[in-house]
Subunit: 237 residues, 2 copies
Amino acid sequence: MRVAELSRRTGVPVPTIKFYLREGVLPPGELTSPNQASYDEGHVRRLRLVRAMLEVGRLPIATIREVLREVDDKDLHGRLGRTLYPLAGVKENEPASPALAAAMTDVDALIARWGWRIDPVSPGRRRLAEVMLTFRELDVAYLMTEIDRYAQAAEMIAESDLRGIATERTADDVVTGAVIGTVVGDALQAALRRLAHEHTSPRFFGEDADAGAARNPADGESRPEPRSKRGPRPGRP
Amino acid sequence: MRVAELSRRTGVPVPTIKFYLREGVLPPGELTSPNQASYDEGHVRRLRLVRAMLEVGRLPIATIREVLREVDDKDLHGRLGRTLYPLAGVKENEPASPALAAAMTDVDALIARWGWRIDPVSPGRRRLAEVMLTFRELDVAYLMTEIDRYAQAAEMIAESDLRGIATERTADDVVTGAVIGTVVGDALQAALRRLAHEHTSPRFFGEDADAGAARNPADGESRPEPRSKRGPRPGRP
């Protein structure tokens, strides 16, 4: 297809497509004449991936270029790790401050507690330490008292993520799926977390009784009891 | 303290502080003379919060202003909800496309399945629908086959989040803690998820045996068996 149809199919304006070509995040089309190129379904998929990383993942174009370079790399060994490491969100390679070094000790303790096997060069350790340090600097370190519950939830999520990715047929699809699953998956988890906050909030901030009663006094029969009266929650689907 | 000390305490350059004052995300100091103002610990905390929302949350300044307006609001009723709604990440108030409307039906089904009580005006429903639609457009809808596991993890996380926030003493602290917990908490969850991916990946992509054996053949005794041989995982801390 010509660039105009590529634009129509994806909703991305032609000048933007040309910008992506110049930036190297969209591979060139096949030249059909000296100044006309032809694009295929691979370009449609790549454009959608670039837009998702920009709009949902809010990633800078340089990070996207770095990630896509690994996606396109034909050497499979360690490709998944190299692809995903730039997505860890670590901003600089500055030496760690004493405060950051202390936070990394806490991260290593967490990793040891859970028996996680993490490569020494993984940027994930430093990223988690940076975030923990931010909580400390904002005087809300108490927000991390349940860090082991969070680690448990992360394991559940990662297991489901990987189970999904592993159904892909080719190595290329696995790598592309992992990129989307990481970037757009962050947005999915954040959206679910906000809904769960809204649901859970009345139990902790005491609007439960009033709100429920005000809406429909007969409701208590048709829906599960409010959690606060049920004690520890049972497992669900 | 003067603006120079505020800058030194927070590491934020003076011109940036003045920009925040103009943008209304930092309240003015107390005037001590016609062109000199004095700042207090509240300004230090506010500056750190603004930086966290910018750097960790990557939020635009307009969203930060909107969130802080609610943080500063003295009317307590519904304040938590109003504060957090702009953080849902919904970009526009455009009418929903047919595809988005279909995705919202799926979101409503999920909410009903879990018995979540969500306000009809909550932006969380639309945000989740937007993300689900992105997965579909990228041809990776299979990445959402475990959406109920994700919902379960989100409930666990939200419960721990709220338990942390609820220990705050004043309503102001609860609201500020909720903002930090939402914005920086997203980064915390994302960092933990990446570490858990790295740990879980060998089980699905088969490097386990080689990598483990190559590193230390005697290791098998001192650490837990690889999950793949243990079957379903038991509960942990």
